[in-house]
């Protein structure tokens, strides 16, 4: 009996079938294509499941305390439109509440620390506004403005009674010791003013952070008031109202802080652009003008430059 060979994976090739012609590989063939990353839609790679733990977590002998676990989605449903970050904070706040020990005293103290921080922020703001460098700079600028205005009067077109008046150069020379002193004080004040600007910006950030916390505390208060009953609910409702009022006051304060930050930035710009740049340029123009009486054109140019300088010292 003829035994046929076992064929793996298909029919045997017929002995008579001609072998397919194999063309030689040509390096640098024009039709060769660059290697491309697979274009097909990649299938997600399955991540191996974590091996199951073979041991239970060890616990010290003691009393277990489980904090509340509230899902963000649950809070979102009950407080539609509230920012996700605030909801997450509220979840974190609720996560620090352990029902077994959250008694009436804890309810009455809920959120007090955050409210105290509001007082601290206001105090920091006031301290900053009463800083000597912040208070003195506008006074120095006003005095400088007055001195330059007096000098500028000599640049007005001469009238019938002004034949014997001092020239702008003479007036400037008389006022220069005080002008130079004011310029020095204002220049030295830039560093503390810049520092005050940075502190004010930090204050703004701290206020924003506190506002988010107060908002989260209000939501958490609301949730807890519904969760507990009796006196605790009453106490928490009062706390929620008080925290919400603080958040409202903080919002007003944030507007004041923003306005103060804008004013401080303008003050620094007035000193920089007016006192440190435009003033020396104008002074040099007056002092280097012809020794003899100035022409109408010279006076006009200097008067215009002075008007621009005074505008810069005035600010917007």
């Amino acid at each position: 009996m003829a035994i046929k060979p076992t064929v793996i994976g298909g029919a045997p090739a017929s002995p008579g079938t001609p072998a397919p012609s194999t063309a030689p590989t040509i390096i640098g063939q024009p039709t060769q294509r660059p290697t491309a990353l697979p274009a097909a839609t990649p299938q997600p790679t399955a991540v191996a499941a974590a091996a199951a733990l073979t041991a239970e977590v060890s616990r010290l002998r003691g009393i277990e305390r489980k904090a509340l676990r509230v899902e963000r989605s649950e809070l979102a449903r009950r407080h539609p439109g509230v920012d996700t970050a605030v909801l997450e904070r509220a979840v974190a706040v609720l996560g620090t509440v352990t029902p077994e020990v959250f008694d009436e005293a804890a309810c009455a103290a809920f959120g007090l620390a955050a409210q105290r921080r509001f007082g601290e922020i206001v105090d920091r703001h006031l301290k900053l506004l009463h800083d000597e460098s912040v208070r003195s700079a506008p006074r120095h600028l006003a005095r400088l403005h007055a001195l330059l205005t007096e000098v500028g009067e000599a640049l007005q077109p001469p009238g019938l009674l002004s034949l014997k008046r001092e020239s702008a150069r003479e007036r400037l020379n008389d006022a220069r010791p005080e002008i130079d002193q004011l310029r020095g004080l204002l220049e030295a004040g830039i560093a503390p003013l810049t520092q005050a600007q940075a502190q004010l910006q930090q204050l703004g950030r701290d206020a924003a952070e506190l506002f988010a916390e107060l908002s989260a505390l209000t939501i958490a208060c609301d949730d807890l008031a519904e969760r507990f009953g009796g006196e605790r609910t009453h106490a928490l409702a009062e706390r929620g109202l008080s925290i919400a009022k603080t958040a409202g006051l903080l919002q007003e304060h944030q507007l004041q802080t923003a306005a103060a930050a804008r004013e401080l930035a303008q003050l620094v710009a007035r000193i920089h652009d007016g006192v440190l740049v435009a003033l020396p340029a104008w002074t040099a123009s007056v002092l280097t003008a012809a020794d003899t009486r100035q022409t109408d054109t010279q006076r006009y140019v200097l008067r215009n430059a002075l008007a621009e300088l005074l505008r810069q010292l005035d600010g917007p």
Binding site: T54, V57, R59, I63, R65, A67, T96, V97
Partner: protein, 211 residues
């Protein structure tokens, strides 16, 4: 007789593609903050749990300020060397402890522990368990957490997700110690498991339990 095996590679076989493991190992940060003059400490132990509870086998497994080398009277105690910045570590830096803070006067975080499980060698027949504990220093006149202002401990993973936040002052006020939970490392799988148990006892009570 052993099974016969042959090397099935032929000349011209395509070389195996090079590949790297792109998974970054999970790490954990434990942060403790409080206000005031009370001394609170963070502790962590590298234990092996073979099914009968986590057990540390050597003082080299104990990351605690009580295990830092120091001289008490004429006697030198402790195992761990303190670095120049005051920090100390175990298992080649797998667990690092911040300099010991004896009060809560730091601006933000007073003490911290970093856990890098990737630096720990795997163990056979069990999992590595790292219990995380915080305690009031016993020489602080019998104080408990309720006597400490704003004592908060948080645990974060390497992506910054907060895995646990505990107010020691309010949630565990009547205790001197809390086991926050344990980091379990089981053949490539690393997880934090919250426990939240308050207890009264000293650190040797903790050591007795875990050894």
């Amino acid at each position: 007789m052993a099974d016969l095996t042959l090397n099935l590679t032929k000349p011209g076989d395509t070389a195996k593609k090079l590949s790297l493991n792109l998974t970054k190992g999970e790490r954990f940060t434990v942060r403790l903050a409080w206000e005031g003059q009370t001394d609170i400490d963070l502790h962590a132990l590298v234990c092996v749990n073979s099914g009968a509870g986590a057990k540390a086998s050597s003082f080299d497994d104990i990351l605690s300020t009580y295990n830092v080398r120091r001289r008490i009277g004429m006697q030198e105690v402790g195992t761990l060397a303190k670095k120049s910045d005051g920090s100390f570590e175990i298992h080649g830096g797998a667990l690092v402890h911040s300099p010991d803070a004896t009060d809560g006067d730091q601006a933000d975080i007073d003490e911290w522990i970093l856990v890098d499980p990737g630096k720990l060698a795997p163990v056979q027949g069990g999992v590595i368990e790292i219990p995380l504990v915080t305690m009031v220093h016993p020489q602080d006149g019998g104080r408990r957490f309720r006597d400490v202002k704003n004592a908060v401990v948080t645990i974060e993973n390497s992506s910054g997700a907060q895995l646990m936040r505990v107010s020691l002052s309010t949630q565990f006020g009547e205790f001197v110690g809390v086991q926050m939970g344990s980091i379990m490392i089981d053949h490539g799988s690393t997880n934090f498991h919250a426990v939240g148990v308050g207890f009264n006892g000293d650190f040797n009570t903790v050591l007795a339990h875990f050894s």
